[in-house]
């Protein structure tokens, strides 16, 4: 029995540095930063005023007024990114069996922005702005995609904090491997919100200025917002319809730290377990990995632990390959990060460059890998390991490859 191969035939992206995939390619190559003082809400005199928001995002450019009615920002992002992804895949959605198409998206917030508006009106005006609740559920963005395209396969929402995006991609791929679906629209999304901004601020692991993953003087993460959508497809199905293959999804691994709610396991065992499993399930050896797209949030602990875990998973080979974090440029997009980083990985493979870790000034002796400081690097890469680490929760790593027949 031949195993079904899962490939990516389309991508759509919204990030703090680009509103579509071609612009995102340029932004990654240039090392462009999307970080500035937050505008979506008043940050006042907060010590953490910065983050990554979408620029000039105009859903009206791609969606009709009727489609946009009563939709939360999160759903708007998902619909716009999905439209780009489907267009790129050249899939004629009317010609496929819609029972065999499904949706699997990761998010931490869903329509939390609208829920916050509901709450304000409730407390300030004692009125129920109930329509604001209709797009709050975390699976709602996926429902909109399902309705727009007539998709009657599964619509699944995943919420595992920072690993939501990778888990959604991974679980989505299972529907294709098992033969249940031919196409899965997968990825993740999260809007900028005062809710998460204040929450992470309270944890005191937010940077006061820029995000410097792996740098000795790193001060913490910066939040970002965005959406990443990938069209996963059964290879045979794609080739039979004359579609093109952007890259192959080889596999993924997951683990739980099971250690402590607030204190991370500094040996990085859980994170390493997820990476090792991803490589193994992908049918590769650690030495086949050419580039690691790190979770690299810029917090003291993440970057330290991830470095240890990468060494555990790849052995000495960790010192031979580039490891970079695009969160340095776009911030931590939470539920979206796995998907956006997967897309960046595919762009790296297909355009032959490694995106840099920007804002890197001072090496940390405890983080001694090659983090591709500040400037993108031309490089022919075949296999990328992309990590999502989740303290106290679920880690998920994925492996994406250049497509070979």
């Amino acid at each position: 029995m031949t195993s079904r191969r899962v490939i990516i035939s389309g991508m759509g992206v919204l990030t703090p540095t680009a509103n579509n995939t071609p612009d995102f390619t340029d932004a990654l190559r240039e090392g462009r930063s999307g970080i500035q003082r937050l505008q979506s809400f008043d940050v006042g005199d907060s010590p953490y005023p910065n983050g990554g928001e979408l620029k000039a995002f105009d859903p009206g450019e791609t969606l009709t007024r009727l489609e946009m009615k009563r939709l939360d920002r999160a759903s708007l992002m998902v619909l716009v990114a999905t439209q780009e992804a489907l267009k790129m895949s050249q899939l004629d959605i009317d010609m496929v069996d819609l029972n065999r198409v499904g949706i699997c998206l990761g998010t931490t917030l869903g329509g939390m922005v609208s829920a916050g508006q509901y709450y304000r009106v409730l407390k300030n005006k004692h009125k129920h702005y109930s329509s604001k609740l209709l797009d709050y559920p975390l699976h709602s963005a996926g429902s909109h995609v399902s309705v727009k395209y007539g998709i009657t396969g599964p619509n699944i929402a995943i919420s595992t904090a920072c690993s939501s995006g990778n888990v959604a991609i991974g679980y989505g791929s299972e529907f294709i491997r098992s033969g249940a679906s031919d196409i899965m629209i997968v990825g993740g999304f999260d809007p900028m919100s005062e809710f998460t901004w204040s929450g992470f601020g309270s944890l005191r692991n937010v940077s006061p200025d820029v995000c410097r993953p792996f740098d000795k003087n790193r001060k913490g993460l910066l939040l970002g917002e965005g959406a990443g959508i990938l069209i996963l497809e059964n290879l045979d199905h794609c080739q039979q319809r004359g579609g093109h293959v952007l890259a192959e999804f080889l596999g993924y691994g997951m683990s739980s730290d099971a250690y402590h709610m607030t204190a991370p396991d500094i040996a990085g065992r859980g994170s390493a377990q997820a990476m090792i499993q991803a490589i193994h399930v992908g049918g590769l050896q650690p030495t086949d990995i050419d580039y690691v797209s790190a979770h690299g949030t810029g917090t003291h602990y993440n970057d330290l632990i991830e470095t240890r875990a990468i060494k555990k998973a790849l052995g000495d080979h960790a010192f031979n390959i580039p490891v970079s974090s695009i969160k340095s440029m776009i911030g931590h997009t939470l539920g979206a990060c796995g998907a956006i980083e997967a897309i960046a990985s595919i762009l790296s493979i297909n355009h032959g460059f490694i995106p840099p870790t920007i804002n890197y000034e001072t090496p940390d002796p405890q983080c001694d890998l090659d983090y591709v400081p500040n400037k993108a690097r031309q490089c022919n890469i075949n296999n990328v390991l992309s990590n999502n680490l989740g303290f106290g929760g679920n880690n998920c790593s994925i492996v994406i490859s250049k497509f070979k027949e």
């Binding site: 931490t108 409730l122 699976h139 919420s159 888990v167 709610m261």
Partner: protein
């Protein structure tokens, strides 16, 4: 790979009692878990009842003091997961921990924490957001606690899919058991009932209005007029049949399949023609290979709303055609109310317990048939019937559906 998957341990905390035996006894004897709301004043609400867990004390389930400070949803999840794992006599150690997965469904998540953060932002500003409350507000926080407590290092995944969450968590667990990523799955769901949800649902006009518990939640009844919300937690342990036999574990029954689908109708509504349930039942029959005539009973999703109960009835009739008129149909939500994510798990647990008793509990508060559809509703008293195959349905607002086949082990 098609492994046979069985349930080997059950745990729950509910308004109908804690633990599956007490739950089943109360359900079968027609008791209700719904009563006047005690947690907050209902003076300004028309809907005054809910299924609350007032007599729940986490220290009955875990000796760890800090668990007392957890949000209720995490307490319900932790208590029921611990009960389930203990019931399964599952020993977790360094050797098997990475091959055990945790799958969790929830509708609202830690809604009290979420509200507290919004309140802090509105009333006092961002500096007053509490870090511990923020950490507990994430949808996977309840299973972080479970994985830490039980030292489970396999995947731990939360699926926020409303009322259907539990079914989707079961489906995910079964998918990973089939691929061999895990050998054992601890699957469950939990939700907490709060005033802000009650208030919001009343403003959306989906709650039933009446004074006493007996009058208000009446699945399929002609005069049904809305939901009664409730809360709780429920978990069970699923593993491969050969693994269960090797461990000499107690086997409650088999999960023969879970089918999931969407109706692609409206994100804020469900297709009234019942297409969603029609799809899931049909797919389930194909998936499991069982015939329509083999279905002995249907445990409906019906939760006492005009539109969802009707569309489910239509879907059942379309999918099962000639057999639909004869297969006994019941719903536990008359007695339990709508407990959100946990409802699917409570339903599957009920089905598993029914395999032992061969008795179908009647729908609580069902008096008047709805002329819009003709189903064989079990009402009034327990119905005795040899049960081998029980179909369990799930449907959620916005077009999300699931159907599950619970089977007596050894029949297929």
């Amino acid at each position: 790979m098609n492994h046979r998957l069985v349930v080997t341990g059950i745990g729950l905390v509910s308004p109908l009692g804690h633990g599956p035996d007490v739950f089943m006894e109360n359900l079968s004897s027609g008791k209700t878990g719904i009563g006047p709301i005690e947690r907050f004043s209902t003076d300004k609400y028309k809907a005054k009842t809910a299924g609350e867990l007032i007599s729940f004390d986490i220290s009955d389930f875990t000796a760890t003091l800090k668990h007392k400070r957890l949000p209720r949803i995490s307490q319900y999840a932790l208590a029921s997961a611990l009960l389930a794992v203990s019931d399964a006599k599952l020993k977790i150690n360094n050797v098997n921990a990475s091959k055990i997965g945790l799958f969790f469904g929830t509708w609202h998540g830690a809604i009290e924490c979420t509200e507290a953060i919004h309140a802090a932002l509105l009333e006092k500003g961002f500096r007053n957001v509490e870090p511990s409350i923020f950490q507990e507000s994430s949808f996977n926080a309840p299973i972080s606690h479970i994985s830490i407590n039980l030292k489970i290092t396999g995947p731990s995944i939360a699926l926020p899919l409303g009322v259907a969450s539990g079914s989707y968590a079961i489906r995910m667990a079964m998918d990973y058991l089939q691929t061999g990523l895990i050998d054992v799955a601890v699957v469950g769901a939990a939700d907490e009932h709060t005033e802000i949800v009650h208030d919001a649902f009343e403003s959306l006009r989906v709650l039933s209005q009446g004074k006493s518990g007996e009058e208000v939640s009446r699945p399929f009844d002609k005069n049904r007029n809305g939901l009664v919300l409730s809360e709780g937690g429920a978990f069970f342990v699923i593993e491969k049949l050969q693994g269960a036999k090797y461990r000499d574990a107690k086997i409650y029954g088999e999960l023969a399949g879970v089918s999931i689908a969407s109706d692609a109708y409206m994100a804020t509504n469900n297709n009234p023609n019942g297409r969603g349930i029609y799809l899931t039942i049909n797919q389930l029959l194909n998936q499991t290979g069982i015939s329509k005539s083999s279905i002995d009973c249907i445990l409906a999703a019906a939760s006492s709303t005009q539109n969802l109960d009707l569309l489910e009835a239509r879907g059942i009739i379309q999918a099962l055609s000639g057999y639909a008129a004869d297969i006994p149909v019941t719903s536990i939500k008359g007695a339990l109310g709508e407990s959100g994510g946990a409802s699917s798990i409570f339903n599957v647990i009920t089905a598993l317990m029914m395999l032992r008793t061969n008795q179908i509990p009647p729908i609580c508060n069902y008096y008047t048939p709805d002329p819009e559809f003709s189903l064989n509703i079990v009402s009034g008293r327990l119905k005795e019937k040899r049960l081998n195959n029980i179909l369990v349905n799930d449907c959620f607002f916005g077009g999300t559906y699931a159907s599950i086949l619970v089977q007596r082990e050894g029949v297929s």
